[in-house]
Structure formats: structure tokens, C-alpha cells
């Protein structure tokens, strides 16, 4: 990795894969070791729904999607380890799905580029 090649300001920059590794590590540490201690108070919308009396609208409704493998981030299990583990799984799944979607967008980009440059191929 040649950092100096793309160093416009002349400042020393962090290596790309080091940066990626540290960022991913921070995400995992937050999800695994900090999230179990996050506030369990209702969030802004839930609190407003409780105060203004429309929380029942959600409580009386059957969820349309009932196949979530880890509902409420492991809260039902009730242990900090369960929340931490679900955070770890969530971070990995989110990263994998995002990269999959990025690859899909990249593929769509290639296809539309090829169509634009080879108009008579069809």
C-alpha cells in the first residue's frame, strides 16, 4: 500500500486496510461490549406514543413479519451476553448485506455502462 501516492496534503495518512480494520473493530466493540449497557428506556417515538395514548395501535396489531431470528436484539433472553452476541451477529450481517448491495449496484453500473458503449450489440 503506497500511502504517499495519494497523499495530497503531504500529511501522513493511515494505511487503508489498517483504517478498515480499526473501524470494523470499533463497530464490533461497540455492539458487543457497550450495547448491553445501553439505555432501555423507550425511544423518542415510543415515549410519545405512550404519553399521547397511541401505543395500543402497535400493541394490538399482529406483526406482519414474525420470522426475525433475534427479536429486540436478544432482550427476551435478558442477559447482557445475549445482547452482546446479537450485536456481534448484527454487525457482521449488516456489513455482509451492505457489501452485497454494493456489488449489486456495481454490477448494474457495469451493465448500463456496457449498454451505453455498445449500442449495436442487441
Amino acid at each position: 500500500m503506497a500511502d504517499d501516492v495519494n497523499n495530497v496534503s503531504g500529511k501522513k495518512t493511515t494505511g487503508l486496510w489498517i483504517f478498515f480494520g480499526v473501524a470494523m473493530l470499533v463497530a464490533i466493540l461497540l455492539a458487543v461490549f457497550i450495547s448491553p449497557w445501553a439505555s432501555s428506556s423507550p425511544d423518542g417515538l415510543e415515549k410519545v406514543a405512550e404519553d399521547k395514548g397511541f401505543m395500543e395501535a402497535a400493541e394490538d396489531t399482529e406483526p406482519t413479519w414474525t420470522h426475525s431470528p433475534i427479536p429486540d436484539y436478544g432482550d427476551a433472553v435478558g442477559t447482557k451476553a445475549a445482547v452482546g452476541l446479537s450485536g456481534f451477529i448484527g454487525v457482521l450481517v449488516t456489513a455482509a448485506v451492505a457489501m452485497g448491495v454494493a456489488l449489486l449496484a456495481l454490477g448494474i453500473g457495469y451493465m448500463s455502462k456496457r449498454r451505453a458503449t455498445e449500442p449495436d450489440s442487441s
Partner: protein, 228 residues
């Protein structure tokens, strides 16, 4: 601010599902100008970081908690459309894997947090940064606009959410709007602090990975040169 099933009526969630699907389809097409093989890990890491940060509910006044949203962070780092896709992925995983936000409300949640609190707020950021940029250094104007518009992004998303709830007949607008804006004006301060600190750290270590930092060429081109 993840809306559960039951808060929105079918005409509202149906309309917003269509609108958000349209934005997502366009984003898949429009993201290509910012993407290449080398930016893909950055998308994954940004999505993972936002997912993790969204788990960290912090207490705000009166037995309420708030958490990070991350739309401005994603868009400032990756550009508007790749950042939009990252937000869609985070909301999709939260909905399908963790039952956070209803499936019928997914389109509304994408609309509030990735279109209104995302694209709209980010374009306002870019416009303001251009206007502000003449007097200040690039770094200062970017960080200032990041702080201001990440706060605005959370407040705008809460306003959009309030309108949807009232259009659905769940709660009158006059009741829900002041309450939602009031609490999210506080939560937005947390959003502004987290977004600004993360952008400042990335500017310090890898300014080329901040798409909104206009002195750096597109991250794709820079990364391609580096890894090649």
C-alpha cells in the same frame, strides 16, 4: 424513531413503500459513479458501524432514550446514493433480523430516516457548505455543516414521522408534532456530536474517505490508485 406495525394506515404505508422502493431502485443505479471494487469494504464497514451505533441508546430527559441515526454520516463519507443504500440495508436488517421497525412501516422508516433525514438533509448540507465555504477553511465549513445538518436531519425525520402518524389518523398532528420535535431536538444533539466527531476522526486519518470533503477526489479513484 423506527415505526412499528399498526401506527400507519394502509394508504400511508403503501404509498411510502412505493416511494422508498423507487428511491432504492434509483440509488442502485445512481450509486455507480461513486463505487468500484475498492469502495465496497467501506460501504460494509459504514453500515456495520451505523448498526452498532444505533444499538447504543443514550438517556435523554424524562425516562426517554435516543439513539444515533447515521444518515448524514453515511452520506458525508460515501456520497448521497451509496449512503442512502447503506441506510436502507441497516433498516432492512433491523426489521427482518431484529424485529425493530414493522415490515409494513419499512418504507415509511426508509422515507423518514434515509430520504427526509438523509438525502434532503444531506443536500441542504452540501448547499450550505458551498455558501459557507468562501469564508472558512474546507475542514471547518464541513464540520460546522455536519454538526448543524445532522441535528436538522433528526428533527426533519421526526416531523415527517409526525405527519405520517396524523395522516394515518393515529394521533392528531397538533398533539404529536410538538412532542416528537421536542424530544428529537434533544436526541439530535447526540446525533450532531457523534457524526461530527466521527467525520473529524476520519478527516484526520483518511481525508480521502470523506466524500463530502471536496478537496479530495472521488474515493473510488483515489482508492483504485492506492491499492493497484
Amino acid at each position: 424513531m423506527h415505526i412499528p406495525d399498526g401506527f400507519l394506515d394502509p394508504k400511508t404505508w403503501g404509498t411510502l413503500t412505493g416511494v422508498s422502493a423507487g428511491f432504492t431502485g434509483y440509488a442502485l443505479y445512481a450509486a455507480k459513479s461513486k463505487l468500484n471494487e475498492k469502495v465496497i469494504p467501506l460501504l460494509g464497514i459504514t453500515a456495520a458501524f451505523i448498526f452498532a451505533a444505533q444499538m447504543l441508546n443514550f438517556p435523554v430527559a424524562g425516562g426517554t432514550s435516543g439513539h444515533f441515526l447515521g444518515a448524514i454520516l453515511a452520506m458525508a463519507l460515501l456520497g448521497a446514493w451509496p449512503g442512502f443504500l447503506v441506510m436502507v440495508v441497516v433498516l432492512l436488517v433491523q426489521c427482518l433480523f431484529f424485529a425493530d421497525g414493522g415490515l409494513t412501516a419499512l418504507g415509511a422508516n426508509v422515507f423518514n430516516m434515509a430520504v427526509i433525514g438523509g438525502l434532503m438533509s444531506y443536500y441542504l448540507l452540501v448547499l450550505s457548505k458551498g455558501a459557507l465555504g468562501r469564508g472558512l477553511s474546507e475542514r471547518t465549513s464541513l464540520l460546522t455543516c455536519t454538526a448543524v445538518f445532522s441535528w436538522i436531519s433528526v428533527v426533519l425525520a421526526s416531523i415527517a414521522c409526525s405527519f405520517e402518524l396524523s395522516i394515518s389518523g393515529t394521533v392528531p398532528l397538533g398533539t404529536v408534532l410538538p412532542a416528537m420535535v421536542g424530544v428529537h431536538a434533544i436526541i439530535g444533539v447526540g446525533e450532531a456530536i457523534i457524526t461530527t466527531v466521527v467525520i473529524a476522526v476520519v478527516l484526520q486519518s483518511r481525508p480521502d474517505l470523506v466524500d463530502a470533503y471536496s478537496r479530495s477526489p472521488e474515493p473510488g479513484k483515489r482508492l483504485a490508485r492506492e491499492v493497484a
